[in-house]
Symmetry: C2
Subunit: 476 residues, 2 copies
């Protein structure tokens, strides 16, 4: 592959976020599909309480940007306020962002081979990696010797995308207009996409296994229809993780560093697993959010007030996220694409599957939010076609809440109870501010008409979300 | 009211479970509706994996029993293996059971007045109560002085119903064929039913209030359409609990004893609360289950392995519960009827609203369960039209798990984390036994296709349920 031989440093200055507009056919297709999707999203919002805070784009021409995924456009395993934006967009603009799963190398034949962008990201020979730093740990791997960044943060994130004029105190609205699986580029698998589920050492199940050998890690490879004709995924095979030696010679006895290529000659494939099971496809972005201000480089795993690794499968097509802006430019990144997930993400991961999303970004300036439901929003808020959802975490802003050692201590301090406490407080706030309820009204409604569920218990900062159906609210 | 003046002890021997068959019109109506509902329930089950364990009734004539709710047919605040069954039914029989909310006296004008059965239950004058014991505490109220049973257990339960031939080790299947709100018997409120939501001291929100005065308890009265024309409930008014003096002269500063009549001259009605909110009606039984074997008298609040106060709003019409039988006769009781509830039951209660349910009871003998999915079932399992659900608790059988002081200690030991652990183990067991999956298959599926949510955090033994859609399983 040509990408494997080029020097990624040689053309670093050519980092471009927009090769697609050079392809008129692709661009026209995207714009055509957006017109409809955008209209639907706007119609949905205009009937909602949050529409009060909506700043309708006033420009007559909106731009559509395209951000491909490659070794030049991703940051792996961390958010950082120091990253240079790939592109700066105006409020109201559209942006299509390719995202790549950090588990693609679990089956490179299906998920990497033949795809120049993905190959550039996973490139790794004896001398260098396409993307060296993976995680927020030390670049020289002096902590554990796993590799640069130490895998303290695992997600391939595409971005950041800057929004012109965004300042701390503003709110960024991200409308997800379309989500598509990334087809396998290997001709053997035409029309199909693939994902990997890792039942890993950080899973809720891990120390509670009943079959031998205990404390095993298991990868299950799933097949997803990339043509959109089927809305279910099916498992192909699974294998137990065995020690894998990376191209630098480091042995990974467990899944302790992202992107380690699995040598399929060293593993035993169990074909036909889950053969009578069809898993609903719920394509969504496990990681989507803004750079936080509290630290220079932040582990991508624990979610927080600016979003990040929320891992709610409802953050897919037709949904809208609202994030508090912490830094100038907002700095949106997207990654950790999932083809499907259950509430709790119990074993540690979802069906990790590369996806491409198309978004519209709308900036709500703090000055325009006074007296609106979005005033002083300090948590990531989700609006789907039918529900509003707030995301509670064990620590709502763990970087601030836990102090200097927050990024390590968060992994030992989480509980669902704490996340429920936070979700309760946020839903109360949401109902009191957006629906003008008294505390007594909000509390009664939360008990009789709001559903609390477990988002995830595997991301350091555990999550509980509270969902309230829009249909509960009738106009006065 | 004639019921208020009669001596309930005088005709104790006439405790009858079946006055309704004397009313041919009512009986024919019920049997007519059952024929259709029963067929639907059977059709739904026959396509499910659990149908393997289904024992189709072989008799050609099935009986339909009717258990009204009155001071003679309810036990208040506890389960007990010592209770004499109201009726003994054969496997396959139908039974209609009236259930009454223990919160009816929050607004007696709407929920008690004119209804002889409900009036007999709540009857309370200076000398006696229609139902004296309320809770599993001491009959002489020597512990707290609140009243007989001390309110250690609060639910008005109708039953028990015995199933002929049931023995420990068997499984009782309870199909919920129909659920109807109990209309107000007060002519002023014809066609309407009412429910009460108490945001009480045991709620998850209670020590976390933001408006003054803090640590307040609030009752909200909801109206439900009893004719079935509307599927939403609306709030009418709320009031803060003020100290209420019961007819025996005991002052209840908080909601510490069930059925205390609220004197509406002492409270301030806030009309028009939640005026733009319509709450989905999800009629279900908060309490349904079998008597446990571990103690003679068991507080009705903490749910356990034989069910009880599970408080899952999906335990309504069209759903089927499977319970492990702990005692000869099984001893089914039903109570704590709810018009609606959200997952978590956050503030302490649902919309507590009297309901009448019609059930079909099917006994699965242990000897017939060998090799079937229901073999050695040791937890309450729920099947809805679209999903299978298992119920995890902080302590799966708290009476056995916590020893002699279990009934008091359970209130200080619960957590959502523990309940999630139990729900994980039960769903793994369910998938491995009913779908013949390996542990690795079950664990992967739980992460990518099973949703874990918070059932309740207010019942002493907290609950998490795991739901898997039936559509995931295709025939081999």
């Amino acid at each position: 592959m040509s990408d494997r031989t080029r020097d990624p440093l040689a053309d670093a200055s050519s980092t471009t976020a927009d090769p697609a507009p050079d392809d008129p056919a692709r661009r026209n297709f995207m714009l055509g599909s957006l017109a409809g999707a955008g209209a639907v999203a706007l119609a949905g919002l205009s009937s909602s309480a949050l529409a009060q805070a909506q700043t309708a784009p006033t420009r007559t021409t909106l731009s559509h940007h395209y951000v491909p995924a490659s070794d030049k456009t991703v940051h792996w395993g961390y958010f950082s306020k120091q990253l240079k934006p790939l592109v700066e967009v105006d409020s109201g603009d559209f942006v299509t962002i390719e995202t790549v799963t950090h588990h693609a190398n679990d089956d490179a034949d299906r998920m990497v081979k033949g795809d120049p962008g993905v190959e550039s990201i996973f490139y790794w020979d004896k001398k260098r990696k396409g993307v060296n730093r993976r995680g927020a740990g030390p670049e020289d791997a002096s902590l554990f010797g796993r590799g640069a960044g130490e895998g303290l943060g695992v997600h391939v994130c595409t971005g950041p995308v800057a929004v012109k004029g965004a300042q701390p105190g503003d709110v960024l609205e991200v409308r997800i207009l379309d989500v598509k699986p990334r087809p396998s580029a290997n001709p053997k698998y035409r029309g199909k996409a693939f994902g990997s589920n890792a039942a890993a050492w950080w899973g809720f199940h891990f120390n509670d296994q009943i079959e031998e050998p205990k404390k095993r890690e298991v990868i299950t490879i799933y097949e997803v229809d990339a043509t959109g004709e089927s809305d279910t995924a099916r498992a192909l095979y699974n294998f137990r993780w065995t020690p894998q030696t990376d191209p630098f010679g480091v042995v990974h006895k467990t899944i302790d560093y992202p992107g380690v290529p699995v040598d399929h000659k060293t593993i035993k494939h169990n074909w036909g697993v889950l053969k009578n099971v069809r898993v609903p496809v719920r394509p969504h972005f496990g990681v989507m959010g803004l750079a936080p201000k509290e630290a220079d480089i932040v582990d991508s795993i624990p979610p927080s007030y600016t979003g990040g690794n929320i891992d709610n499968w409802r953050i897919g097509k037709g949904a809208t996220m609202f994030y508090p802006v912490a830094l100038p430019g907002a700095l949106l990144s997207v990654g950790d694409p999932h083809a499907g997930q259950g509430d709790s993400e119990l074993c540690g991961t979802a069906i990790e599957c590369s996806l491409t999303g198309t978004f519209q970004l709308i900036l709500h300036k703090a000055s325009a939010l006074k007296g609106t439901p979005l005033q002083a929003l300090n948590y990531p808020l989700l609006e789907t076609q039918t529900e509003f959802l707030v995301h509670g975490f064990s620590y709502p802003n763990y970087l601030a809440d836990l102090g200097a050692k927050a990024q390590s201590e968060i992994y030992g301090k989480s509980s669902v109870d704490l996340a429920l406490r936070d979700a309760f407080r946020k839903m109360r706030h949401f109902l009191m501010t957006t629906q003008n309820l008294s505390e007594d009204e909000a509390v009664s409604l939360m008990s009789v008409g709001v559903d609390f569920a477990i988002t995830q218990v595997v991301d350091g900062n555990w999550g509980v979300h509270a969902a309230v159906k829009k249909a509960l609210f009738v106009s006065s």
